[in-house]
């Protein structure tokens, strides 16, 4: 049994590291088959396959995306991480300073057998949304 099965915090932290490595294979290896992602507006996306494609697309939009965790709370199989997300919205493959954004976020992970069964994000997408709107206009 992996250590992460006994300590849900390890699995959540490994997931954060995989995100910060922008490594889809690492992320997929940490998801359950029936993995669920819930975004800031409560929209659900289900299954590892769908999420691999979604993360790939997201890392293309924000190639330097990073999560910074300041506080961690654990209750049973649930791990809650507080901090912020930041990155640069890529325009024509370029990372320009004026397209950098940052936002406070809470992530909630539900762990099952050392894997992330559910990953939900709670925070404002406004900074990134504004940049996307500006460049679409």
């Amino acid at each position: 049994m992996p250590l992460s099965a006994e300590f849900p915090e390890f699995a959540a932290r490994a997931f954060v590291e995989a995100i910060n490595h922008r490594n889809i294979d690492e992320l997929a290896g940490l998801m359950t088959d029936d993995h669920v992602f819930i975004d800031c507006l409560g929209k659900r996306l289900e299954s590892r396959e769908k999420l691999m494609a979604a993360w790939e697309e997201y890392f293309q939009a924000v190639p330097d995306f990073e999560m910074v965790v300041d506080e961690t709370y654990v209750a049973g199989n649930v791990v809650v991480l507080l901090g912020h997300a930041h990155g640069t919205y890529a325009t024509e493959g370029k990372l320009l300073r004026e397209n950098e954004w940052k936002t406070p976020v809470i992530w909630r992970a539900r762990i099952r057998w050392g894997l992330v069964a559910e990953w939900s994000v709670c925070g404002s997408n406004d900074p990134l949304r504004h940049l996307m709107d500006k460049h679409r206009a």
Binding site: I38, C40, G42, A75, T103, P104, V105, S124
Partner: protein, 138 residues
Amino acid sequence: MAPLNDQSPERVARAFVEAINHRSVEELVALMTEDHVFIDGVGSRAEGREKMKAGWEGYFHMVPDYEVVVNETFADGNVVLMMGRAEGTYAVEGKLLPENRWQTPAAWRALIREGLVAEWRVYADNEPIRQLMARHRG
């Protein structure tokens, strides 16, 4: 309301949520430290009990049936974290119409000091209410 010194930080945070759900600015103010800090979803800070009194008054005027629903609570020392959703109706010309109802996942982090809320931080995407506001501002 006197400071809830004999209460756990979680009880104080819950009392703050109840005060929000009563839309009672008096109750809220009584639960704030004088140097109370409010931090919104994008990290903007508002400092001081008086400023926040006006802030909540304005917000309840805009969303008169505003409600916080807490599904999970985590506590560590003087910090209480609550996760759930916020909901309400954006008032247009004083009317609460069903088409102006909104809801968004939210979390709140409360820092408690001597039975009062020293800091109240909100994590939420305000896009649902922002869209309603934009629509009505035309």
